[in-house]
Amino acid sequence: GTSSGDDDGGGGGATGSEEQGGFTAPDIEMAESLGDNEGTLSVLAWPGYAEDGSTDKSVDWVTPFEEGTGCQVEVKYFGTSDEAVSLMKSGQYDVVSASGDASLRLIAGGDVAPVNTDLIDNYADVWSFLKDRDWNSVDGQMYGVPHGYGANLLMYNTDEVDPAPTSWSSVFDDAGTYSGKVTSYDSPIYIADAALYLMNTQPDLGIKDPYSLDADQLAAAVDLLKQQREHVGEYWSDYLKETQAFKTGDSVIGTTWQVIANLAQSEGATVEAFLPDEGSTGWSDTWMVSSKTEAPNCAYAWLNHIVSPEANAAVAEWFGEAPANEKACDLTSDGFCESYHAGDEAYAEKIHYWTTPIEQCLDGRTDVTCTTYQDWTQAWTEIKG
């Protein structure tokens, strides 16, 4: 998941996670060594992950790669994880930036190959808490290189909101205080934020994972969100809209991304953003290599490049997320990594990364079926009314 509009979290995951034990990765060969670069590389990426200077001349980490490796890059952008999955199935692309809700599907579908991290020099510098996670590895075998991550924060207007909030309750149970000026992220996946809140406040519901909700749990989250809806001024889906709203005071409290908070502050808005103690939702992306690639060397070169301190720093700053490479923080502007809490393991542990809800409960329950993303979508429509 990323920032590109509200398209995040689309599509369904493949099968469950490891805990369910129902999942063995297809046997796909892993590269053992590298040879000469093939000359071309086809990249499938979220918009903003592979900038070549066409948007903004100063934003370019593709050209240095081309110059350094001789691999000519062709970039195609995708809008949803589903699209990424179906495009990868066509076999035309060598590498892909996969979000948590696409990576497992790609692994299960045999569309991506295990990645030999020994061949990627810069892998060593990746924060260790991003390695060997559920969404990027199977049985300890990495299937890609972590790229960046971020959390959904709570932002508030320091002039208007007093006392300063400490918990998500200020946008849920206490939303009425700032009725009409509360804002929330406009996507079904936001239901997980409510579920996360309920997980902490109503243990009776038995929510263990905000992305695996049975019908009752979903109903409870929906109820909570419907109450919140009364006080929501508007839902936001893009930087501009939210930054504007906080600047003008049309919104005073709500979810945000670090990048927006920074932007708003730089534009003179009196806002603060923080990660409440309950934890939060968030995203983490991984670069993967196609199992059918004819340019494995360029592909590995790309993976190495994209997590190189320079490129990783550039992406993180341009895109507005925490870099995966700890050395990137030396290259980012002052205070960047601090503000994004890059490398803060405790902080990262509080993030519940976006995953696509599917029928099989990801939290390991087998006695109930969980609600799917389609259910969430319909529920989201109902919530907004």
Binding site: T55, D56, L240, T248, L263, E267
Partner: protein, 264 residues
Amino acid sequence: MTRSVLLAFSALVLLFVYAPLALVVLNSFNTSRTFEWPPPGFTTKWWSAAVDSEGARNAIVVSLEVALVATVIALVLGTMAALALQRFRFFGRDTVSLLIILPIALPGVVTGIALANAFLTMFGIELGMLTLVVSHATFCIVTVFNNAIARLRRLGGNLEEASMDLGAGTFRTFWSVTLPMMRSALLAGALLSFALSFDEIIVTTFTAGQGIQTLPIWIYQNLFRPNQAPVVNVVAAALIVLSIVPIWLSQKLAGTDESVAAAR
């Protein structure tokens, strides 16, 4: 008296139409990246950024290409449809005209998902330039068609008959008489269809796939990038100004319209 009331009202409506556009232009010089009001300062940096923006340029080129191809297809098909409908009395004349306006009369969301679904499942075509152009042409046909048929109705068949009477065959007649007579109508239709296609976002979203960045898509994506919104304003402001040229030109050319009417 009534005239001055009308004039005042029209002026108000035009103010209503142009106030937001003025704001767009103003914001393209606004130092604030999020269009603070009143503008905290004045800067031309967005303009120079826009001039340097390869993405914007590419997107404009793509949009121009798409609009151009779609307009050409619409011109050919719309004209043919109008000619056929005017010429032949067949049973479903009404149905056909209804069919032609349907793509514009049905909401873009519907057209978008219907076409996307058809391309992907019925024809198995990957979304891309082809599907985009085809989709645009589908709803552009109507503007050409309507202009063409209105003109044909006004002309009647007399001039064509006169041409055949003087020994010109069907093709010659079309080339030397029908086409020149329809020119200004086709031009108006083409212009509108070009504008429609150029600024289309909904159908485009569904049928273009991600590889193709038309200008509206570029704008859409860039509005989601924190540093780009003012640049988008610049592009829009520039477009507003530039758009006057083709419209003015077409109006000038369409000036022959009156003479067409007067000659009859």
